[in-house]
Structure formats: C-alpha cells, structure tokens
C-alpha cells in the first residue's frame, strides 16, 4: 500500500515537474558526450568503405534514428497501457511529449535514407521494405498527433490517443510483415545498410550515436512534458506558485 502511494505521488505532476527539471541537464550532458564520441568514431576512426566510399557514413545517423523511431513508439505504447490500466495523468502527458520526437526520428531516418540512396542507387526514393515501413511509422505518428490535437478535453485526448497507440502497436508487426512480403514478391531493391560483416568500430559508432539520440529524446521529452504540465494544470496552486517563483527570480 505504501509503495502504491509513493508511486502515485511520484506520478503526480506537482512532484514530477521539479524532478524532471532537475534531471534534464544531466541527460543533455550525457547526450552531448555520447554524440561527440559517436561522431568521432563514426566520422574519423571508422574506415572508409571500399564500395561505398565516404557516403556510407550517413548510417551513423540513419540507423540510430530508425532504431529510436521504433523504440519511441513502443515506449509511448507502454505509457498508454499504463495510463489506460491505472488512469494516471502522467502517462498520457509522457506519450504526447514523446510523439514529436518519435516523428522527428522517423523523418530523420527517411531523410538520411534518401540522402544515402541518391549516390548509391541514383534515386532519392526506393520502395525498400525498411524505408516503406519507416514511412508508415511516420504516418502512425502523425495520426496520433492529429488525433490528440483534435480533442479539446485533455483526458479524452490521452485516453483516445492511448487506445490508438495500442491498436498501432498490435498492427505494426502485421504491417511490417506484409510490407516485407510485398517487397520480396516484387523483388524491389533492398537497402543493405548494416552489413553482417560490419566492422566493430562501426558498430560501436552506431551504438554511441544511438545512446546520444536516446538521451536527447529523454531530455527533450522531459522538457516538453513540463510545458504540457504547466498548460494543463494552470488552474492549480502549484503551477501558480511555480510561475510566481519564476517571476520573482527574474526580478
């Protein structure tokens, strides 16, 4: 019982707001460190590919962005499940705070895929299974954001959005499988970005960049969730106190 109480207390915006604020600088710092290390390894240390030349180095952005775009959707669905099961306010806010970052990652993955594809295949876009799935994932993110934006009542937006996320998560494997099936039947060209014989330095570079994106996503989601909290709870005492305190500092 005591644990439950603590958990609920932690999940309440008034407690979470300062807690998140304290954490943000650390995540930013860690993200920068990982980013610098990853870029150094990827851009300077990793050997030039004998087939693809220097252009292949874009995978140090492309692959981590693709990983994050999928991972963030799963995390959002996790928050949605918690929110629908326990009716916690924080869950919906976290899902909404993560969505733009997830969409950005999916977009980044598509963009770098196109930039990589132009010199490699001579085309900006190829209907490859992975790129197509990424595009559909971007649609799912946009659908989620459009739905939550269209609902005025924040509670209803959280719940409806959460349900959509769960439906999406059930469908993603089916969509991915069907796209792969479609791709093999039509024998479209396949992106083989991450080769199995990948050098260890390349793998490390990608992992470091993935950590950088991960920490960045957490930091930016915490910042966004703080603004969402202020907006939604603007009529409560703790927000008024918070805003008054800030105004006092500036004076």
């Amino acid at each position: 019982m005591k644990d439950r109480f603590n958990l609920y207390r932690f999940a309440s915006p008034a407690t979470f707001y300062p807690f998140a604020g304290a954490l943000i600088p650390y995540f930013v710092a860690v993200s920068i460190v990982f980013g610098l290390a990853g870029l150094w390894l990827g851009m300077l240390v990793a050997p030039t590919d004998f087939q693809q030349g220097e252009g292949y180095r874009i995978i140090f952005i492309h692959v981590p962005a693709s990983w994050m775009s999928m991972f963030i959707y799963l995390v959002m669905a996790g928050w949605a499940a918690i929110g629908l099961a326990f009716n916690t306010r924080l869950s919906g806010m976290m899902a909404q705070a993560l969505a733009p970052t997830g969409a950005l990652m999916a977009f980044l993955s598509l963009l770098t895929g196109a930039l990589w594809g132009k010199p490699m295949w001579g085309a900006w876009w190829v209907w490859d299974a992975r790129l197509t799935s990424e595009l559909i994932l971007l649609f799912l993110y946009i659908g989620y954001m459009a739905l939550t934006a269209a609902i005025d009542d924040a509670r209803r937006a959280d719940k409806a959005g959460g349900l959509l996320l769960l439906v999406g998560v059930v469908n993603i494997p089916i969509i991915y499988f069907s796209v792969k099936w479609w791709n093999t039947l039509h024998q479209g060209s396949s992106v083989n970005l991450a080769k199995s014989s990948m050098a260890t330095t390349m793998l490390w570079g990608m992992l470091l960049m993935a950590m950088c994106f991960w920490m960045y996503s957490i930091a930016i989601a915490l910042m966004r969730v703080r603004t969402i909290m202020l907006e939604r709870e603007r009529h409560t005492d703790w927000v008024k106190a918070e805003l008054l305190g800030k105004a006092g500092d500036e004076k």
Partner: protein
C-alpha cells in the same frame, strides 16, 4: 449473444434501406474512381491488366472510408448510442453487429460490382474470380479496423479527414494481400497464400476491432 448482434444488424440494415442514397453513392464513387484510371494512364490492355488489382483495391479502401464517419455519428447525435451503451450486454457485441451491417451495405456491393470493373481492365476469368473473392473476404477487415477509427474520431471537428489519416495506414496489410492475390493469379503463381492471409486478417480484426472500438466509444461518451 447472437440475438443482440442480429438485432443490431437488423436495425442498421433497415435504416440503410430507408436511406439507400448512401449505399448507391459509395458504390458509384467506387465505379467512377476505377473508371478514371484508364483515362489517366491510357488504354493499353497490357498496362491496365498490370494496374487493375492495385487500382481496384485502392478504390475499394477509399469507398469504404466514405461511409465510415457515419458508422457511429448518427447514433451519437440522436442519443441512440447512449442507449446502446447502457443495454445489459457488452458494447463490443453491439459494435460487432454494426461492423457486420456496415460490411453488408459497403463491402458486399463492392465485391459484387468488382468483376464488371475488372472486365474493363481486361482481366482473365481466373483473375476476376480471385478479385471478387479477395474483395469479399478482405472488406470485412476494412469495416472492422475502420470502426476503431470511426469510434476514436466520433464527434470531433474534421472527423472525416482525421479518420482517413488514422485508418488508411492500418489498411495497408489488407491492400497488400488483397491486390497481391490478384497479382499472383495474373502472373500464374496462384493466389491461395494471399487469400488465406487475407482471411486471417479479417478474422483477427473481427475478433479484436469491435472491443477496441467499444473502448473508444466509452471514452468518447464520458
């Protein structure tokens, strides 16, 4: 359990029969969209045969979308939906009935008219049979998945456009296996694999979607 599903289907069909213009206009939308393609890309039979499965299926998705916004909106507006939610049986059963009724007035007519449109695209008899069958067993999944979107967007501004944004990405597997079945038949590979996957999608969505839609409706009714 079957009594309530049958009661919902009976009522929805009766309402649809009193408002036949809805069914007819969705059907004509399907016919017109499909007929526009040859005008846009040229009448070469070779090309048309290649495009037919995709064109017919995409048009079927869009035609199904047309009637989705009204699936719950009418009942919501006149208060009937509240009464359905208060009836002493699970709301998921009611939605199952509504999904089946929606399919009977939107998916079934498409399947019946599809062979005629397939002839316009110079499809062989085999391909026509598979096309009809694929639309017949694939469209219930469209009604089912569409019900979730219809329930989530019920009563929202811009609901229709939003609905297509939510639902169309989820329709992709149905499109791929539906069009793939016809494609495989045309190229002589046999469409059985596609058709059984399509049937699996339909069964899964008819089992799962009504309950997800019911949950979405309860959220919207709060």
């Amino acid at each position: 359990m079957f009594r309530i599903i049958a009661a919902v289907i009976g009522r929805d069909l009766k309402l649809a029969m009193r408002r036949q213009s809805d069914i007819v206009s969705a059907l004509f939308f399907f016919i017109i969209v499909v007929s526009l393609f040859p005008l846009g890309i040229g009448p070469e039979p070779e090309l048309l045969r290649k495009l037919a499965p995709g064109v017919l299926w995409v048009a079927a998705l869009l035609a199904t979308m047309l009637s989705l916004p009204r699936m719950f909106a009418d009942d919501h507006r006149d208060g009937t939906l509240e009464q359905l939610a208060l009836a002493p049986h699970p709301l998921g059963l009611v939605v199952t009935g509504k999904v089946i009724a929606h399919w009977l007035v939107s998916g079934l007519p498409l399947a019946l008219i599809a062979p005629v449109l397939g002839i316009q695209f110079d499809l062989s008899t085999d391909a026509l049979v598979v096309l009809t069958f694929a639309i017949l067993i694939g469209t219930p999944a469209l009604s089912g998945i569409g019900a979730i979107g219809a329930a989530l967007t019920m009563g929202l501004r811009g609901g229709g456009v939003l609905l297509s944004l939510l639902v169309l990405p989820l329709y992709i597997p149905v499109l791929i296996f539906g069009a793939g079945a016809v494609d495989a038949t045309v190229s002589g590979l046999g469409g059985e694999g596609h058709l059984s996957l399509l049937a699996a999608l339909t069964f899964a969505s008819l089992g799962f979607a009504p309950w997800a839609s019911a949950a979405a409706l309860k959220i919207a009714l709060e």
